[in-house]
Each structure stands twice: as structure tokens, then as C-alpha cells.
Symmetry: C2
Subunit: 561 residues, 2 copies
């Protein structure tokens, strides 16, 4: 009789249970043990902000599978409320502690899987143990926050960190009628994910929803109310009254077990694994938030703690611990987040990441429609596309707005993974019917704008550059070629602004000085581009279009003067 | 002075205006003339069914640009109500007829663009000129139908052809409270787009919405009411009372002008063009519905009359007639259509097309969720994925159901275009957050099911094969491993059906005969697959899973007995 394969999996959130289930299906006879320190397996931690907000009503909905499912249906041993203490790699054993009885014991393994996940990053801050200061990693945290809210002594609450969880929780707290201030140490929201030109639109939307945003704020500590409850957040610059604090400063891979066992930890702080998700010990695999991944574009190691990646890891590990040989190619840092009515997504490299990677980039910023504008219910959004200048190869994209960004982020994820250029993207045969798309998808348009730049037809300047020029008082003409009606509704109020509707441009060319810089705008850039080509044709030499025009301008229209 | 480039474009719906606009932007000085026999340019013919239904309220919304926009803003000459009669290739002239004055004239060209579109396919049928028989190609048709409806003498109306327009119009007519019968010569709805196993779900939904479907019905003629109005549709099999007939039998490329000029017409009936969209005369370009395209997978010529393709053609032609050199790679036959509450999409090859192309295929049929099931508002849909057996290379996909199929069709379009395999698809870093997706996207799952089949872990049989076996009275066990509650709610009523809930399977293996064929089902296939692996592990030799299980079973549950 063949010896039964003995697989031990540490961690029961996403990668662990997936690895276990896959291993069971690959090897119906294997002995499989899952060790989990909490009470549940397969908890949907990504849904926690929506459970706090009340959108998800019942906490039971957050648990996909109860432990007895794994025991009875999957024929596994499940040790909940059990903590793995140490690994003896030579003896192929794990020492675990039963948190109920406080008794240690030893488990043997042939193959060990580390799916130990991540823990919230919490820098040293005075008063961080005050009541009313939370992180959000499990259902218990969510329940603690939910029961704290009714007893708040002030409606003002604070979120530290404007990352994914921070923004999701901002919406959750506003749903409860609270007044939210978000403190961010860097200079814009989602700072590691988005470039400023897209983030500025998300900020505007957050402010429209009543969220206060403070940037460059590094929290140094907290002060209590004398009864052990948090009352103030202290930053280098200011003190903020608060009734509750949520710390959402990102997560760190939980690698203590791996490190203590002498496994290689990468420069990012995650467990180092090869393409088969094997650690430096070939009998130990690791996946999920605790490992580092390869960025598919830069080929560099990055942390990418995502439930989606954890599940893919789990399947590959389940295959490989049962004798298979599958590989995980890497990640693109894809992310999407609902920020009130905006769907904010990103994929690949942003501009600063591309520059760090040594790429010379070309971008487009394209105000877009989710489907045919004549079909009811269209919602708009802004697309930023980034490509390599020399090759036209796609590097990344960012999108924000009420429209369907998720579809375009995913198409872009496929295209970037498979090495597509802007030419490839521009001609993809995407599905078209009026309820679903325009004849030209936003990605087609975004690719074509880059192609127009690469071919020399289009010359552009970003909204931020225009804002800086206006603030510096530069001498140039900001030529608005929209209709007088549009101009009366909203415009960039600056002495450089000048209205010259496109239909009149050809016959009024004489009014424009040939020796001055001209920046053309319209609503979305389409008319401005034609105007630029008309001026090009008439021999003007210093003409550009502002990327995305008025629809891509996130700044207070009247505020620049 | 450089001689002005003289560009003449025949056809003003989609490809023509796009080519004109692009040419203008590429060459601000070119002379550009558009010849259009109708009254408008850039009409959104794809939106017509929604204008008939009333979803689009105003016909003005259907016209993107008025002729004066092209004249004044684009600086072109626009000849509406003007028909192109003939081309003199040697003289580089086109003879046109002013339909208002009935006067012919001659226009010179350097580059000529044929964007002559398509016309409805109407076979020879007796009585086809009766009042109340319509096609739908322009706003006039839509207005004629709208004004005919209030005067109908019966609420029963007939649609001939169950293609894209036929099904969109079925919904439009039902919106008006009419009783719709759809006649289709082939054996299922969208017969050239979908395989039967997906089409059967669309049919079920149409029947649930009150639409009557009759297949294998070739219409031979119509009978009137004696006052010139249609009253009966005659097929080989039957006569159907009707108050209105919509003929939606597809379209044929309009190539008469090209053929008369001696240009090469392809075997599909479309104008033959090279990758630069040049016809057999290098000074004449053609694009849109009137040309044939290359299928990116088979490399064979196909007709693909789509507004999306016409727009891409237009841009390329606009570039190339002004001295550029862009290429159009080809199409995937991508299509999407709203059929009441179902979003029905397809891309690439369907199974019969793949077989015609000589591919040995492997498929998956996966009931899917559009996003995390614990996040409110999830809608389901069915995914069919098709890959090449030897290589795992993606060939096509079809999806139907209330859920967001459009996103997955587009991701698949990108993946297929760029040569992806099921392995590539399974590991794409797609955007995940609970409002947008599950941790594993439906495409990941569909790819993994195919991988499970290719690796030998999963063995399946299609719902249609099971239905045929049941109807033949084959001896086998249809093992339902769902819960007793689920079994009581709905089940496949057959003497072969047997309930054995998955949690009890391991201990009740002795109840199953080892010498008999066993087909396992559950709700979506996940539990059935585990059950198959349990039986595999226990040494059973003749076990399969029904692809997609109950959720992929479109047949009347009680009807098979």
C-alpha cells in the first residue's frame, strides 16, 4: 500500500482552506490537517467594511464554510483555536498550542503549508491602547466597532491611512451618520496605488460626500478622556478631537513562524517562494498575504496582499503538495475599491512606479462613458492609461468615477499580462451593444490617444501642469473651444482663459497670436484635439491640448485665481 | 504648394464619418467629401430596437452628429440625399445622383472610401410587399413600426429570425404589450453565435417572458387580409395569424458599387480588402459592414457586421488615405445582446465552428456569480469556455444570465486575441473587491475546470448527453449529492435519479454499485466534482460529473420522464 501523504496547513482564512480543498480533490487519500488560531475557516475578511456599514446584515454571511464542512465533507482534521508555535524542519513536525486548554502538542508532516496571512501595520504610537482605537482584520473587530458606535460621545471620528480599507471604512462610518476625518501621511488618497491626477478626482468625490481629508499627517499618538477612551489624535502638525480611531495603515506579512524556522525572508519582508510557491525548504510551501510575489512587469519582488491572489496560491499549493507541478506567474498589483459612488481601479504600474522601473512613459487621460450615451443610465469615469514610449507596450491603468471601471481594469489586466501594446489594445474586438458599451470602448479611445501622441499628431500637457502654470501666473492662452453655453456653466476662471467656440475657429484664426503658447481645452478633449490640428495646419507652432480637458480637471474651478 | 489630397467617402453611417473625421485630423488641409443617400450622418442604428421599445425616447438621440457639424467644424463637403451610381477607376471619378433633383454629377477623387454598409437579407417570399411587414435598418423603419403598433388589429405579431436584432425586437414588442412569436429556420436562438447548451438557457428565459419560439420554420410567404395588410405568415409546416411581421434574417454586405467597378469580392460576399483595408484597387479603401474580415483564430474570411468594427475600420482608413499605414488585425466575432433580463455574450469560436476549423476541443460549463455572494445584489450567469485540447489554447466563450457577462466576454476577447491558454487565464490578476467580483473570477473557475479535465482529475458529460441518455432510457445512476432540502425544491425527475448527500457519501459508498455508470450532479458542479474524486479514490471506474450540474440544466425538470 502506498504511504498516505501527510499534509499540514497553517492558516485558515483564504489560501489555507483553498490549498486544503484542492489537495483533497487531487489526492482523495491524503491526510490533511488545518491549523487555525481563530474559530472559523474561510472568513470573508474583504467584506468586513460592508458588514460594519450594515450593507451585509448578518455576520454568518461572512463565513463561507464552517469547520465541520471541512471535517465531514472534506475529510480533514481541523484544529481551530490552535496556534502554531514552531516548526522542526529536520523532524518534519510542528508544535501547536491548543488555545482552549493551553496544552501544546506536536504534529508530523510530509508537506507543510504556511498560510499565515498578515497583521495590521501599527507603528509605535503613544496611547495606542486606549479604548476606541481599532484595526479591522476579523469579524470580532467589526463587531467591536459596530457596538462602539452607538456609545460614541462625539460624531467626529478619525481614520488613519487613506488606503483601500481606510476609504472603504470612511464610507461605512458615513453610513452611520458619523463625521469622518481621514489622515494620510503621504500627499493623496490611495498613494501607493494611484497617481495624483486620478487620486485628485477620488478626493473631490470624498469631500463631496462630507469626508475631511488631511495629508502629510503622521500620527504620533493619542490622548484619552481620562476614563481610558480615546479623545484626541496627535500628529506632528495638529491635534484632532475624535470619538473613535480606525488604524488602516496597511498590513505586514506574518512571517514569524517562517523566520524562526530559518526559512528565507525576502527583502520586502514576505516569505520568499519560488514559482511553485515552495519556500527555501522544499517540503514547506507558502502562499497568501505572508509571501512576496513577482511583479509581472518589473519582475521585482513585491507584496500584494489580496484575497484573489491568496486563492490562486492555494490552488497551486494544493496541486503541488499532492505531487503536481504548477507555477504561479506573478501579479500586476490589480486593485479595485468602491469609494461611495465611485468605482476606483488600478492595474500594473502607475507613473511613479514606471519611472522607478526606468521606463520612459507616455500617458492618456480620457473622460469616458460606460456605454452608448443615447442609451439611458450611462455613467462617466476617467481613464488614465500608461504605456512605454519607445515600444507602446502597456504598463498600467487607473480609473475612477461612477461608471463601470471594473470591466476595463480587467481587460487591461489581461492585455498587460499578455504583453499587449497600445496598437493591440486599440483593435481588440470587444463586445458592443448600446446597453454595454460604445462602439469604441474607453480603452480603445485611451489607446488611440497614446497612439496619436506617439505618431506626433497630438501634443498634450497635463491638468496639473496647467494648474501650476496658472498659479505661477505664466503668460499663455488657455483656449476653451466649447460653446458659449458650456462656458457659462463652468470654466477655468483665469485671466489666461479665452473662449473661441470650435465652429468659429477656422474663420477667427487671426485673433490668436502666433508667438504665444496656446493650451486648448474643451469638455473631454475631442474638440480640443481637432482645434490643435486646425492650428497645426495653419502653421501655429506652440499649441498643446490639456489631457482630458475640463472633465479631467479636479481642481476647484474658481480656486486657481 | 503641395497638391491638396482629395478624399471621397461613400456612406455616412459609422465607418464613413469615422474615416472622414480621422482623415481631417491627420490632414488638416485635405479636401474631404462624404456622400450619403439618407438625410443624416452618424446614425446609431444599433440603438433602433431601444427606440422602438421606447427606452430611448427621442429619435434625435440616435444621431450623433448633424451634417452641418461635418461641414462647419470638420470643414468637409457633405452630400446627403445623394446616391453613388458608379465608379470610373481609370478617371478617378464617382458619378452620383442628387435624389432631390434627380440630377447626376461627377466627383473626382485621389482616394476613394467605400463604406456602403449592408442591407437586410430578404429571401424571395410571396406577399413580402404587404403592409405591416418590416425590416429595421434606419430611423424611418423604427418610426414606421412605432406608428403601426397602435393600429394593430391583433396583439399577435411575428418575428422571422432569432438573431441579435430578432431577439432585441422581441423584447421591444413585448414592452408594447404584444404577443410575440419568433420563427427560426435553424434549431435554436442565435444559432450562428451560440451552441445549443447555452442557447437553451436563453430560450428558457424568452419563454418565461412570454415569447413563443418555433424552430425549423422556413417562411415561404405571407397572406393579406384583403385590404393589403399582412394577416398570415406561411411556413413549410404551418400558417400563423399575425398583425405585424419583422424580418430579421441578418444583413448582406452592400457591394454593388464595388462589384460594378470590378473590385474583388470575397467568397463571403463582402468586398475583399488587405490588412490596410485597401481593395484590389490601391486607391480605393473599404470598411464597415460591406467588407469581409479575417477571423483572428481561423485566419479565414468572415462577415462581421458590427458598429464597433466599422469604427475601427474608419480610423484606420482615415489614417491610410492621408499617407499613414495602419493595419487592422481582424475580428473574433464578439457579440453581446440584452435579451430581457439576460446579458448574452459570445466571443471567438463556438464548438461547431471550432470543429469545422478542425480543432479538437475541451469545454467547461460553469454556473457563476457576478460578485461575492455575501455582498448584496449578486446576479448569476452561465459561462461556457472552449479550449483546444492539445494545447489548452483558448478558442471561445459564451455566457448567458442576469449577471455581468460583458466584463468576462471582454476579458476573454483580450486573452484570445493575445494567444492565451487556460493556464494564463486561470492566473490573470483580475480586480477583486466584494462589490465587483469573487476572489476567483468566473473565468478563473472556467479555466480551472478545463485544466482539471486536461489533467485527468475531472471527467464530465454534458447536460444534453444526460438528457439524451434519460430519453433513451439508458441504465445508469444519476447521483444527486445535494442536500435533501435542495432535492425537495427541484430535481431531475427520472428513475435514474438518486439522492445521496455529499456529507454522507463516504460512509454510504457501499450502497453504490461498482459495475454501473454513475453521473454525479449537485447545484453548480463543485460538490459533484468532489464526489467524483471520492469515488475515484474508492476505486469506482465509471464515474462522471454533469457539466454545470442543475444550474446548467435548461430542460423542463419534469419533462424528461
Amino acid at each position: 500500500m502506498v504511504r498516505q501523504n501527510n499534509i499540514v496547513i497553517i492558516g485558515g482564512t483564504a489560501c489555507g482552506p483553498k490549498a486544503a480543498a484542492r489537495a483533497r480533490r487531487c489526492d482523495p487519500a491524503a491526510k490533511i490537517t488545518i491549523v487555525e488560531q481563530g474559530e472559523d475557516l474561510s472568513t470573508a475578511t474583504c467584506g468586513l467594511p460592508y458588514y460594519v456599514s450594515g450593507v451585509i446584515e448578518n455576520e454568518d454571511h461572512m463565513v463561507a464554510r464552517r469547520p465541520d464542512y471541512f471535517e465531514i465533507v472534506m475529510d480533514m482534521e481541523v484544529l481551530i483555536r490552535t496556534r502554531a508555535l514552531s516548526i522542526d524542519r529536520k523532524a518534519h513536525t510542528v508544535t501547536v498550542l491548543d488555545l482552549e486548554t493551553d496544552r501544546p502538542s506536536t504534529i508530523e508532516y510530509d508537506k507543510l503549508v504556511l498560510a499565515t496571512g498578515s497583521t495590521p501595520a501599527i507603528p509605535d504610537m503613544e496611547g495606542a491602547d486606549l479604548e476606541g482605537i481599532f484595526t479591522l482584520t476579523g469579524i470580532k473587530d467589526a463587531n467591536d466597532i459596530r457596538s462602539f458606535i452607538p456609545n460614541l460621545e462625539t460624531r467626529e471620528i478619525t481614520i488613519v491611512g487613506a488606503g483601500l480599507i481606510g476609504l472603504e471604512m470612511a464610507e461605512a462610518f458615513v453610513t452611520h451618520g458619523l463625521k469622518v476625518t481621514v489622515l494620510e501621511a503621504l500627499d493623496w488618497v490611495l498613494p501607493t496605488l494611484l497617481d495624483f491626477d486620478v487620486a485628485a478626482h477620488v478626493e473631490k468625490h470624498l469631500r463631496d460626500k462630507g469626508v475631511k481629508l488631511l495629508f502629510g499627517q503622521r500620527v504620533t499618538g493619542f490622548r484619552g478622556d481620562g476614563k481610558g477612551r480615546v479623545r484626541q489624535v496627535i500628529t506632528g502638525n495638529t491635534e484632532i478631537e475624535t470619538g473613535l480611531v480606525l488604524l488602516s495603515l496597511g498590513v505586514r506579512p506574518d512571517v514569524s513562524l517562517a523566520r524562526d524556522a530559518g526559512l528565507t525572508i525576502g527583502s520586502t519582508g514576505g516569505i520568499s517562494v519560488n514559482q511553485n510557491l515552495q519556500t527555501s525548504d522544499p517540503d514547506i510551501y507558502a502562499g497568501g498575504d505572508c509571501v512576496e510575489n513577482v511583479n509581472l512587469i518589473t519582475r521585482q519582488a513585491i507584496l500584494a496582499p489580496m484575497g484573489s491572489t491568496a486563492n490562486k496560491h492555494g490552488r497551486i499549493i494544493g496541486t503541488n503538495v499532492t505531487g503536481g507541478r504548477e507555477t504561479f506567474p506573478g501579479v500586476l498589483g490589480t486593485a479595485i475599491v468602491k469609494v461611495f459612488d465611485y468605482n476606483v481601479g488600478r492595474v500594473g504600474l502607475n507613473e511613479s512606479q514606471a519611472q522607478e522601473a526606468g521606463c520612459d512613459t507616455v500617458i492618456s487621460l480620457v473622460p469616458s462613458n460606460e456605454h452608448a450615451t443615447y442609451y439611458p443610465g450611462n455613467r462617466e469615469f476617467l481613464v488614465k492609461l500608461i504605456a512605454e514610449k519607445a515600444t507602446g507596450k502597456l504598463l498600467g491603468g487607473q480609473m475612477a468615477g461612477p461608471g463601470d471601471t471594473a470591466k476595463r481594469i480587467d481587460v487591461l489586466a489581461a492585455a498587460i499580462t499578455l504583453g499587449a501594446t497600445v496598437d493591440d489594445l486599440a483593435n481588440l474586438d470587444l463586445a458592443y451593444a448600446p446597453p454595454y458599451n460604445s462602439a469604441m470602448d474607453p480603452l480603445h479611445n485611451a489607446a488611440n490617444v497614446i497612439r496619436n501622441k506617439l505618431s506626433g499628431y497630438a501634443r498634450t500637457i497635463t491638468p496639473l501642469e496647467v494648474k501650476n502654470k496658472l498659479e505661477k501666473g505664466d503668460r499663455f492662452i488657455l483656449l476653451d473651444v466649447r460653446s458659449p453655453q458650456e462656458w457659462n456653466e463652468n470654466r477655468i476662471e483665469a485671466e489666461q482663459s479665452r473662449l473661441l467656440p470650435l465652429p468659429e475657429l477656422r474663420k477667427r484664426l487671426g485673433e490668436l497670436p502666433r508667438d504665444e503658447e496656446i493650451v486648448i481645452i474643451c469638455r473631454t478633449g475631442v474638440r480640443a484635439y481637432l482645434a490643435q490640428r486646425i492650428l497645426d495646419g495653419a502653421g501655429f507652432k506652440n499649441v498643446t491640448v490639456m489631457d482630458g480637458s475640463i472633465a479631467a480637471w479636479p481642481y476647484d474651478i474658481l480656486g486657481v485665481l
